[in-house]
Symmetry: C2
Subunit: 409 residues, 2 copies
Amino acid sequence: MTRIKKFGGSSLATKERIKNVARQIVDTYKSGHSVVVVVSARGKTTNNLIEQAADINPNCAKRELDMLLVTGEQQSCALMAMAIHSLGCPAISLNAAQAGIISSGSFGNARIKTINTDRIKQELEKKNIVIITGFQGVTKNGEIATLGRGGSDTTAVAVAAALGVGTCEIYTDVEGIYTADPNIVPKAIKLKEISYDEMLELATLGAKVLHSRSVELAKKHNIKLWVGSGLTKKEGTLVKESTMEKMLVSGLAMDKDISKITVVGVKDVPGTAFKLFSSIAKKNIVVDLIIQAMGDGKKGLKDISFTVSKKDVKETIEALTQNNGAFEYEDISYTNDFAKLSIVGAGIVSNPGVASAMFEALYDVGVNIEVISTSEIKISVLIAQEKAEIASRSVHEKLMQLSLGNVYG
Amino acid sequence: MTRIKKFGGSSLATKERIKNVARQIVDTYKSGHSVVVVVSARGKTTNNLIEQAADINPNCAKRELDMLLVTGEQQSCALMAMAIHSLGCPAISLNAAQAGIISSGSFGNARIKTINTDRIKQELEKKNIVIITGFQGVTKNGEIATLGRGGSDTTAVAVAAALGVGTCEIYTDVEGIYTADPNIVPKAIKLKEISYDEMLELATLGAKVLHSRSVELAKKHNIKLWVGSGLTKKEGTLVKESTMEKMLVSGLAMDKDISKITVVGVKDVPGTAFKLFSSIAKKNIVVDLIIQAMGDGKKGLKDISFTVSKKDVKETIEALTQNNGAFEYEDISYTNDFAKLSIVGAGIVSNPGVASAMFEALYDVGVNIEVISTSEIKISVLIAQEKAEIASRSVHEKLMQLSLGNVYG
């Protein structure tokens, strides 16, 4: 049987950890499995490289940043192969080009288009443990592009899909998926299972354990994701199609990496929002919560606010100002003062009490709600960032009370 | 006109140096030239990576070491492109695969077979400054191989040859080629010009300014090599076909990176030396000075000693022991106690006085000569490593006296 294992940067941060991971891989190999390993860059490598780049050019080209960043995973890969060799097992490292990982050329945010598995299969037939660079692909023209932060998860799932392997093992520095970040909400509970859709919402909403695109891809190809710690032997969390235990609320996520941009004084006529957001969409920027407010009614104007990831603020504002011809506005401003708090659960749609419990919990600790956004399985609210932690704890506590005996209902 | 500039690791060690180099490149570009730049890894990067590898696996596979090491140049490349962008000029980084540098698959010691210049030319036509990773190539199968230490010089010359550019500019941390290492021989003189053959001998014999294969390649394609400092504006040295000023002795080189291996008690019959050295040659290991000595004459045995680069000792001994069947021996030993001191000059062959002056200078300071090896333009001696510096100064001094008014004769 072929096993796909992905190891994150913290599992590879030191020589000792690399050797630990190598031993674990070799154990699996020696028990008779073919093993494909996907690795991230070691420890803080990616952040260090980003700092070096920013130091030389604060507005560095995304293509060049990708050329720089991909070296981190290639280093991990080679060192892991060496560590496995030192344990007496055959292994070979493959970078994206060698592993046949063909991606789009959208630098910094590329998508895997296809994986040509010929080389991977050849190496597995030679009984090699195959170590693949995560986070990156090559275009048909040989350009190198990264898949965005956390993209190694996506690489691992894509490799599993391409090889027809049903489960992808994601080893990380936490022991699984929790109902909330245990650092903020000490009462958070580790889940045994969670559905793709719930995990997807949690990941999209700021839970950093899994890259949301990896969950999308796993759902699409019906690949189970096992998430757990590479350092402890404890049970992890399984992400899969349908969970045995339907939960009212499966988790709470908080995202501080957002900026709220406000476009003041746009014409309140049909098509304005379309033109405004299409100018942003052209830049591949994801817009999240959107609020329209009446501006100067006499002039027929309104204000449009929305949230984007902090890193996209500059480009979003550029897109808006450069598309000046398509729509008019009076001013553009932004603030980083907000956080997005979300709860996710398959039971939310059928239990209106969940939303009111959440709002009550926020009221209890004096937190004002700026925007509310809901879907079938989630409720998100925009709140003051300084209240994010207290709000998280209050909401988690309330939902636990509400659903005692009902959490696994 | 197209200019080819190669920058070594010390020119790129800090952010400030990268910016300095970028400014120099931009000056050339703005004066109307197309510019192709070849870069090494920054500062101590390559050594650090080698240490990391050795720390994880002291006998790491050459393929994996190459996968690890090539990341250093790719980082330099990307950062240099960013630095040039920040000065408002267009630039693009290309790794070996992108630049079309096709090499053999001899990991750690690959040869450039051909350069497919399509991409480089496309980028130059787009008015981009092209930054290429030195030191590396890809095989037809996409395997990544390095050209051996200092291989970035070779990359630069190969790119010049492929683009039909007549001069290759090598920027380094010294101001040119000196008659000896100025750190050891304070009276060493910087040369204005030196011929390919003399430079080749000096490089092969341990002068570390230029990679010997880069000189071979430059000679083959009649490309002039300009060698000088990237940090000062002083004149450098030109390496070219025939020099205007024929020198008696153009330089002195010292090589401490040698081990002397002795194979004791091999049969003194025809074919033994052939079998012995062919077993080493199969491993692509370069054997230098060779000494045969009579061993136990009654048994018809002799001893064969030879020098190899320190890094090759282990593999050489393996090659010898594994080929046990092909020839017999009593014992194998090695020592790192020797250094090789060489003098190089087109005038040596026609001036027998040079050799005797060298030997006299060694005698003057009490240095014993273990082996002597000569060619038309060089004399090498193996001496005790602890006497290497004093021997260098004595020989340099004597040759300067001998050829006062004759150095440029």
